[in-house]
């Protein structure tokens, strides 16, 4: 599969995850969110950038429980809870946010 962003074609897997994480730009994230009918606001970007930093440091996309805990530790407990994260990313915070962040699907995610 592929994703068309302003005429540039990017390769994705069958679920829409970007094939090459170095391709990622914020416009790609917006295009992926558009496809899902989602709008990205500051709170979404905070999680997306958090995930990219996490991947850069540890080379993995964290599972949802881990993401929740890690966000709580680094961004505060008002953000490190399932309710907050599921409101932002109703398809599953780790799954959906990793997709917009251009990262692989989290380990242990079915």
């Amino acid at each position: 599969m592929s994703l068309d962003v302003n005429g540039v074609i990017y390769e994705t897997d069958e679920e829409g995850y970007l094939a090459n994480l170095n391709d990622w730009t914020m416009s790609i994230a917006k295009a992926q969110a558009d496809k899902d009918g989602a709008e990205l606001e500051d709170a979404h970007w905070e999680v997306i950038h958090f995930l990219r930093e996490y991947y850069n440091e540890y080379q993995i996309s964290p599972a949802v429980r881990i993401l929740t805990k890690a966000i709580g530790k680094r961004l505060g407990s008002d953000k490190g809870n399932s309710k907050y994260l599921y409101e932002l990313f109703p398809h599953g915070p780790a799954k959906q946010a990793c997709k917009y962040a251009g990262l692989p699907k989290p380990t242990g995610c079915i």
Binding site: Y54, Q59, P62, I66, K69
Partner: protein
């Protein structure tokens, strides 16, 4: 989560050249994500997995040794390294990554313990589930 078992994963192989090390890490992350109690043992060439400053770019591999730093987020914080295996390879604890975790009262503790081989026996015997990679 209903059932929590004690997992022990023994890592014996060098980090690159075979897929064992990477697959073992994947198993450990999944077990950790599902809130199982996981302990890791590194022995034989497996001790090389924990060495600092790995750079496998030249062989086209991802440097997955960075992922060990995330283990504490997965509550995997008991990592045992066989001292004999280190000695035989001319390595010591200072050649290994400095992995830490926080206790409940927010104190930083080291996750890696270098132990004599005979101490590994008890750890292995305590396991409900034993993986050997």
């Amino acid at each position: 989560m209903s059932v929590s078992k004690s997992f022990v994963c023994i890592n014996r192989k060098a980090p690159y050249g075979t897929i064992y090390a990477l697959e073992a890490l994947e198993v450990v992350l999944i077990a950790g994500a599902f809130e199982q109690q996981v302990k890791l043992i590194f022995m034989d060439d497996g001790v090389y997995q924990l060495t600092r400053n790995q750079n496998p770019a030249g062989i086209g591999m991802k440097n997955f040794s960075k992922t060990f730093g995330a283990l504490s987020d997965y509550d995997v914080d008991q990592i045992f390294v066989d001292s004999e295996s280190l000695n035989l390879r001319g390595l010591d604890a200072t050649d290994l990554q400095r992995l830490t975790h926080e206790t409940n009262d927010a104190e930083e503790r080291l996750s890696i313990k270098v132990v004599p081989r005979k101490e590994l026996v008890d750890i292995i015997e305590s396991a409900d589930v034993l993986f050997n990679f």
